[in-house]
Amino acid sequence: MMDVGRHPRIELMTFSEVESVTGYVGNFQVTVRKKARYVDASECTACAECSKVCPVAVPDEYQQGFSSRKAIYLPFPQAVPSAYILNMENCLGNNPIACGKCAEVCEKKCINYDDQDELVKIEVGVIITATGMQVYDPTEYDEYGYTRYENVITSMEFERLICAGGPTEGHFIRPSDRRAPQTIGFIQCVGSRSRDGRGNPYCSNICCMNTVKDTLLLCDHYPGIEAKVFYMDIRAFGKGFEDLYMRSKEEGVRYIRGIPGEVIENPDTRNLTLTVENTTTGRLEKHELEMIVLSQGVIPRQDGDSIRKLLTLSTTSDGFIMESHPKLKPVDAPTRGIYLAGCVESPKDVKDSVTQASAAAARASILLNAGKTKVEAITSQIDTDKCNYCGICAKVCPYNAILAPDRKAEKAPIIIQAACAGCGACAAECPQDAITMRHFTDEQMMAQIEAILEVEPHKHLLTFACNWCSYAGGDDAGTARLQYPTTCRLIRTMCSGRVDEKFVWHAFRLGAPIVLVSGCHFSDCHYISAVRWTQKRMDRMWNKLDKLGIRPERLRLEWISAAEGQKFAKVMREIEDAVKAVTTEEIEFTMKVLAEEEAKNKAKKEKRKAKAAAEVTA
C-alpha cells in the first residue's frame, strides 16, 4: 500500500466512497465522496501529540476491541497516508469549554473542525472492483458460547493476539486472566458449509489453512503447547498447503475429525469443556481446553449492494459478485469495462487475490492501451421516427446501454453502441418495432420462420435457441452422437430475450404445431438478466393463448445449457411426441383464430391512423 501511495501515476483516495457511476466503457464518470477527515493529511506528520491529549477512549476496531483508541487516531500503523484522522462521532467538539485540546497542541495547525466532505468527479476508462469481504459473526452458533465465554475467540481475534503489532505485542494470552494458555482448541467450519439456515452453504476457502498456520505459529512461539483442531474436512488443496498441514501434524497438533457440541465453561478455572465424537474411532471424547478459537468463515461485504447497483453487476446465490464467465472470463464483469479482483468475487487467499488482481490489471490495460474497443456488429439501432418515447427499451436493457427518452422534449432514447452487448431484449419488447437488431432483424427472423414452415408445417418443430447455451447444447448433443428426432428446426438468436411475441404468433399463423423457446438457465444468462424478460414474455403469451382457446402447452419454454446435450436430446424426443399429438383441426383452428385476431388489430390500427390524419387536416 505504501508503494501504491508513493507511485507518481497512482492516485490513492482513502476514506472515500463512490457516490455515482455513469457512462460506459472508456467513458465512465465517477463521483467520489472524499469524506472529511478533519486533519489535513498533507500537513500531518503523525507526531501523535494530538492523540496523547485527547480525552476520549473508544474500543479500537482494528484491534478487534482488545484495546482502545482515541477520537483522533491513526487507524493502524501502516496506514496510507500516514496521517491522523478525527472521528467526529467520538469527538467532544471544538467548543473551548468542552475540549479542543488536539488543535491546541498540533504544531502544524492541521486540525480543522469545520472540514467538509468533498465531491470529486473523475473520468476513467475502466473500473476494477476490489471491495473485499467481511468475516462471519459466530454469535448465531450459540452452543459455542462466543457471547458468553471470554476465552472463546474468533480466528480474527486470534490474529490480533498473536501479532507483534497487536494489543499484547505478540504475547499470546487468554482474555479472562491474561495468562498464556497451555491447551487450545480450534473449531473449523463455523459459518461455512452449512445448509441449516445458520451460516453459509459454501466453503470459505481460507479457514483451514489459516488454522494450520495458526497452530504452527503457536508451536513456534510456545513449544509444548497442546493444540487440537476439530474439523470435518481439512481442505489443503493449494501449492505447498499439504506440506504445511503435515508439518503442523509433525509438531504434535492433534487433528480430531468431528464437530463438537456444546461448550461449557468451568466458572472457577474459566476453562472450557467440549464434547465431540471422534468420528475416526466412533467414540465420544471430552476435551478440557483453556481457550477455543472459532475458525469463522467469510461473507460478502454487507454494504456491497450499493457498488453492485452502481456498476449494474449481479451476484451469485452466495452474495459474491458474478463474473462474466466462470472459466473463460473469471476477472471480467458482465458489464464491459468493469473487472473484478479479490474476495469481492469469491472467498480467496492472498495468493489468489494477487493473481486475480494482476489479471484484472492486465485485462484493463488491454482496453486502456488500445484506446478504443471493438464492438460486435450485432448491436441495436433505433428508428427515432417510429419511437413514441415509452421508455420500455431503457427499462429492459440489462446493461443500462440505453439512455431513457424524454417524452416532453420529444427526445428519443439513445443507444450507446459501446455498451450494447446485442441481446435484443429491447427490440423484442419495443411496442412500436422501432428497434432493429443488426444481423437479427425482424425481416431475417420472419424469413427463417417462413422458410421452415413452407412445406409440411405440421411436421416441423420450430425452435428458438440462444447462441450461448441452447444452440451450443444442440451442438453438444450432435458431437456426442445422441439420437433425437430430425423434425426440429433451429433458429439462432443471441439471447432468448430476442424472441419477439410476433415471431411466435407468425409461426402459429403459418401452421406450426409447437413452438419451443430455449435459453440459458436463469443463473447463467450471458446477458446478465435478459432471460428474465423471456420468462415474462412467455407468461404473457401463455395467457393470451389461453384466452384465444389455444392449448398453452403448444408454446414450450426450456432452459438448456451448453453442457446439457443429453437434456437437449431428451427435450427434442419429448416434444416429438407432443408434435404428433397436435391434430390438423387444432392447427387449422389456431390459424383461423390468429388470422382473425391479426385482421382485427390491423383494422384498429387503420382506424386510429385515419383518425389521426383527420385530426391533422382539421
Partner: protein
Amino acid sequence: MSDNTKVQETEKHQVNFAFREKLNSIAEGFRHNYCYQCGACVADCPAAYYSESFNPRLILLKAILGFEDELVRPDSEIWDCTNCYTCSERCPQDVRPVDVIIALKNLCVKEGKAPPLVRTISDTVLDSGITTKVTSLTERRRQELGLPPVKSYPVEDLKTMLEGD
C-alpha cells in the same frame, strides 16, 4: 474364512439402492443423503452419552448405504433415540437425523419388526388414550393423595383420527 463366507460378507455390505429409494420416499425426500458425517449430531446426543452403541451419525451412514437388515429390526439401535431433536438443531447440513430415525421406526412397525414393547404401548394408547395403563393401584394412590380419578379420553375420536392415515 472360506471364500464362500467372504462373498456373503461383501453381499451383505453392498449398497442397497432399493432400500435407499424406499427411505427417500418416506423420510422427506433426498435431504438426509447430504450428510457428510461430521459428527455434530453425536456430541450433544443424550442417548449417545449413555449408550455406547447408539450413534446417530452411524445410523445416518447405514441409512445412506441402505443397510436395511441392521436398521429395520426389533433390536436395532434406532429404538434408543429419545426424539429430543438436538441433532437436528446441530446438523449443519439440515439432515434432520430424528426425522430419518422416526421414518425408520415407522417402517419397522409397518413390517412387524418393532420391539414388542412398542406394540404394547400403542395398544394402550388405542384403548385408553394415554401411554400408561391405569391400574387399581394408581386409583388407590390418587385417592390417598386427594386427587380426582383419572378421566377417560374420547378413544373413539382418537381411533377415527388415526384411521384417516
